[in-house]
Symmetry: C2
Subunit: 255 residues, 2 copies
């Protein structure tokens, strides 16, 4: 847990209702979780849980974005799933597992509501809206994982780069966010030079712009034209994302 110190929940952007699952709860249930949890600011690569390690807390992202990552024996790594304001980090804990062979860490820095496992269970025993919301989210996550299997097996790296950028853009709801080619290559399970060449082409075409670890989405529609159907298949399963309009300040917000 390399999270920085907790932030005052009253701070701008710290409203738990920024998270789609929390926003769907009745006021009383939301109030309980807000009281039992703590809004935290997380840095890039801040670990939520390690492979095989105990899962002691779950996180409801507000504007942060997280990755579920599998690390293979040759120390290469691949992102297996993305988690933003539409979901929750730590599903195994909800499902009764105390650990997972995979890792979860922060991909784009921001805020998340951290809730301890005992506190989560307290609220869950009410057997109210949270349980239903999480069941729905688990279902959508399984679709995401399954589609990632197919996409990573059959589609080209360029399409997957576009999909990754769109997926992240949907969750940060800002046209620019920190991202290095090295990090992106790890997420895709590809080599950095491969990413460098393909990303360079996307930039030449005016779809994106980046420099020294800062990525900017210039032409969403263009990226959508370059990605595969997997993007839409996954997006459709997350109502929280499909419904949410991107920040109006973003000139290239999704349709």
């Amino acid at each position: 847990m390399s999270a920085t110190e907790p932030t005052d929940p009253g701070t701008h952007g710290g409203d738990p209702r920024a998270n789609a699952i929390l926003a769907a709860l009745p006021p009383a249930e939301l109030a309980r979780l807000r009281a039992l949890g703590e809004v935290q600011e997380l840095d890039v690569r801040a670990s939520v849980y390690e492979p095989g390690g105990a899962i002691t807390d779950v996180y409801f992202p507000l504007d942060a974005v997280f990755s579920m990552v599998a690390v293979l024996q040759d120390e290469s790594s691949v992102e297996v799933g993305t988690i933003g304001f539409e979901g929750m980090v730590g599903l195994p804990a909800f499902l009764g597992s105390t650990s997972s062979p995979h890792a979860a860490y922060c991909q784009v820095p921001g805020r998340a509501l951290r809730v301890g496992l005992p506190e989560l269970r307290d609220v869950l025993t009410d057997d109210g809206a949270l349980h239903d919301q999480l069941h729905q989210y688990v279902s959508a996550t399984m679709v995401q994982l399954a589609q990632n299997v197919a996409c990573n097996t059959g589609h080209q790296v360029e399409q997957r780069i576009c999909r990754w950028l769109l997926t992240t853009h949907d969750r940060v709801r800002r046209p620019d966010f920190p991202l290095t080619q090295e990090f992106l290559a790890q997420m895709l399970g590809a080599r950095r030079p491969t990413v460098s060449e393909l990303a360079g082409r996307l930039q030449q075409r005016g779809l994106i712009s980046y420099s020294r670890g800062q990525m900017t989405i210039l032409d969403r529609a263009g990226l959508e034209a370059c990605t595969c159907e997997c993007y839409w298949t996954i997006r459709r399963t997350f109502p929280g994302i499909a419904d949410a309009a991107t920040d109006p300040h973003d000139a290239s917000s999704p349709a």
Copy 2:
């Protein structure tokens, strides 16, 4: 639903306790499910649900084996998950979804206990052992899906062939089962000639033997030596499989 007519539950091999989830239920809960459901014999490629289609029943495999499959726009297909006696086909239904963008069909013919969705919900409202069992199984399935993402992204087809054979062997608990190269290629998201060449090598090395759609596992330990760690990572998460000894008639049963 291209299943054949129901089989008398009393038939040899039709005992619901062959399924690990059902076997873990208290006698009363098991009896209810057995009474509400129906043991069916399923043929190869018998569909359980289609992409986007309604999920009206769930299946608890007894000796049949099923695949979750994603079909891409170019009509290629990839297996995203395997379901045998350790699990249940139709998780989206349990989680509250009435459909899935993926398909599920029978991979190795055999028996399964079919239970209608209303009947399943009836038993689930008891909020007893079945709910817990399914939560645990969902958690393991997510690990399987996630590891499949990583494996299909990073590992070679030969390793994945070995993993597929071992995974299926664990579930049929017989050294031989029907399998064509064409089918295996579809599961792996690879071309048939690729599978032909690699499988030929495995046969030359004496690890397997096959002819005209019939596969026989000759040397489990040899296959285990050729596969990747993903096999074990997934296997560990399914206690029902790790515990179950393979049929003693099988000379090359797992350790």
